[in-house]
C-alpha cells in the first residue's frame, strides 16, 4: 500500500467518482465540483501564461514587435461581451478569427481531405495482384456509394436508389467498426484506473 498522501487523495477521489455508479450522492457531487474548480483554475493560469504573457508581453516588450499589440486589442474587444450594450464590439474579433480560419481551411481541406483522398481511391487494376485489385475495387465502390447516400439533391430512384442502398451497407459496417473501437477505448480508460488503484495505491499488482 502506498504511503504517498498524494496517491491516497487521488485514490479516494477516484472512488468518490465511482460512487456515482450506485447512485448520485453528496460525496460524488463534492468531488465533481472540486474537479470543475481545480480544472478551471489550472486552465486559467495556462491561458493567461500562453496567450497574454507569451504571445503578447514577451514579443512586444522583450522582442519589440509592437505590431502584435493589435492582437491584444482584438483580444480585449472580446471582453465587451460582458456588457450587453457593447456586446456588438466583440463581433469584430470573432469575425476576424472565423474568417482567418475560413481562409486557410479552403485550400487545406480541398487538398488533403478531398483531392488527395480521391486520388488514393483511384487505382489501376492491371497493375495490382488480384487480391489487392479486388480490395481496391471494394474501396472504390464503397467511397462512391457512400457519397451517393449523402446526396439529397435528387430523388432516390433508379441508379441513385441502388447506389445509396449499397452505400448503407458500407456505412453500417463502418459504424460497426466504430462501435467496436468505441468499446475498446472506453474499457481501456477503465483499465487505466484499475491499474492505478491496484498498482500505485494498493500495491497488489507489480
Amino acid at each position: 500500500m502506498s504511503a504517498d498522501p498524494g496517491i491516497w487523495v487521488a485514490a479516494i477521489l477516484t472512488l468518490a467518482i465511482f460512487s456515482f455508479l450506485y447512485r448520485e450522492n453528496p460525496v460524488f457531487r463534492f468531488a465533481e465540483h472540486l474537479l470543475v474548480g481545480v480544472s478551471a483554475g489550472y486552465y486559467l493560469v495556462q491561458y493567461f501564461f500562453s496567450a497574454v504573457y507569451r504571445k503578447l508581453y514577451v514579443p512586444v516588450f522583450d522582442n519589440h514587435e509592437y505590431i502584435l499589440i493589435m492582437g491584444g486589442v482584438l483580444g480585449a474587444m472580446m471582453f465587451a461581451r460582458l456588457w450587453r450594450k457593447y456586446e456588438w464590439v466583440s463581433r469584430y474579433p470573432i469575425a476576424f478569427y472565423v474568417a482567418a480560419w475560413a481562409g486557410y481551411v479552403i485550400p487545406s481541406y480541398v487538398q488533403v481531405r478531398i483531392l488527395q483522398q480521391a486520388e488514393s481511391t483511384m487505382f489501376n487494376p492491371m497493375a495490382l495482384p488480384p487480391a489487392e485489385a479486388i480490395s481496391n475495387f471494394i474501396i472504390f465502390l464503397g467511397v462512391v456509394t457512400t457519397l451517393s447516400y449523402f446526396y439529397f439533391s435528387a430523388e432516390r430512384k433508379g441508379p441513385l436508389k441502388i447506389s445509396s442502398h449499397v452505400g448503407v451497407i458500407f456505412i453500417m459496417i463502418g459504424f460497426g467498426a466504430t462501435f467496436g473501437y468505441n468499446v475498446m477505448g472506453r474499457i481501456s480508460l477503465l483499465i487505466g484506473r484499475f491499474q492505478f488503484l491496484l498498482t500505485d495505491w494498493l500495491g497488489i499488482v507489480q
Partner: protein
C-alpha cells in the same frame, strides 16, 4: 457598423488568408504570420472569458440560493486556490502541480472511465439485431471488438494456405469497407466545410455573429 462592419472585416481577412496560400509574395506572408499571431491572442482571451463566465455562474448560484448552491463554494475555492498557488509557489512545483497531479488528472480520468460501465449496460439493453442494417452493424462491431484484442488471433486457423483468424478478418474490415465508408464521409465533410468557409468569407453565413440587434 454593428453587423455590416464585421462582415466586411470577414471578407477582407478571409480573402487575404486565401490568397496568401497561392502566392509567395513577402507582403502576404507577413500578413499571414501577423494574423496567425493575433488569432492566438484572441482565442486565449476568449478562453479566459469562458472561465470568467464559470465564476459568474457559480457566484449567482450562491447569491440566488439555487439547488446545491453550497457546492459552488467548492468550485470557487478550488479555482481561487489554484490561481493563488500559481502566483505564490509558481507552476513548476508546489501545490499547483500537486493538485493537478493528484486531484485534477485522477478525477478527469475516472469521469471518463465511467463510460465503460455505461457502454456495457447500454449495449446490452439497446443493441438488438432488429433489421438487416442493425445486424450488419452488430456483426462488424463484434468482429472488430474480438479482432483487436489478443484473443482474436487465437480464434481461427489456416484456410487454403492463408491464416484466417478473427484478427485478420477485423483487419480486412478496418482497411477495406470501414476505410471506404470513412473516406466517403470525410470527402463529404470536406466539401461541406469548404462550402461553409466560402459562405463565411462572402458574408452569406453570419450565424457566428450571434442574434441581430
Amino acid at each position: 457598423m454593428k453587423r455590416q462592419g464585421p462582415v466586411v472585416v470577414a471578407f477582407i481577412i478571409g480573402m487575404l488568408m486565401l490568397i496568401q496560400f497561392f502566392t509567395p509574395n513577402p507582403f502576404f506572408l507577413r500578413l499571414y504570420n501577423l494574423f496567425l499571431d493575433w488569432k492566438q491572442v484572441v482565442l486565449g482571451c476568449t478562453l479566459i472569458l469562458g472561465t470568467w463566465s464559470l465564476i459568474r455562474y457559480h457566484t449567482r448560484r450562491i447569491g440566488r440560493r439555487q439547488q446545491n448552491w453550497q457546492y459552488s463554494y467548492v468550485t470557487l475555492i478550488g479555482l481561487a486556490f489554484m490561481v493563488l498557488a500559481a502566483l505564490i509557489w509558481k507552476t513548476e512545483g508546489g501545490p499547483y502541480r500537486w493538485m493537478f497531479q493528484n486531484i485534477q488528472v485522477p478525477m478527469q480520468a475516472t469521469m471518463f472511465s465511467l463510460l465503460a460501465f455505461y457502454v456495457a449496460s447500454a449495449s446490452y439493453r439497446a443493441f438488438r439485431a432488429r433489421t438487416f442494417a442493425a445486424t450488419l452493424l452488430l456483426i462488424a462491431g463484434a468482429l472488430v471488438m474480438l479482432g483487436r484484442v489478443p484473443v482474436g488471433a487465437l480464434i481461427g486457423g489456416n484456410i487454403g494456405g492463408h491464416e484466417v483468424t478473427v484478427s485478420t478478418i477485423a483487419d480486412w474490415i478496418l482497411n477495406v469497407p470501414n476505410l471506404a465508408a470513412k473516406r466517403g464521409i470525410m470527402i463529404g465533410v470536406g466539401l461541406g466545410m469548404t462550402a461553409t468557409a466560402i459562405k463565411i468569407i462572402l458574408g452569406i453565413e453570419t450565424t457566428y455573429l450571434g442574434k441581430s440587434d
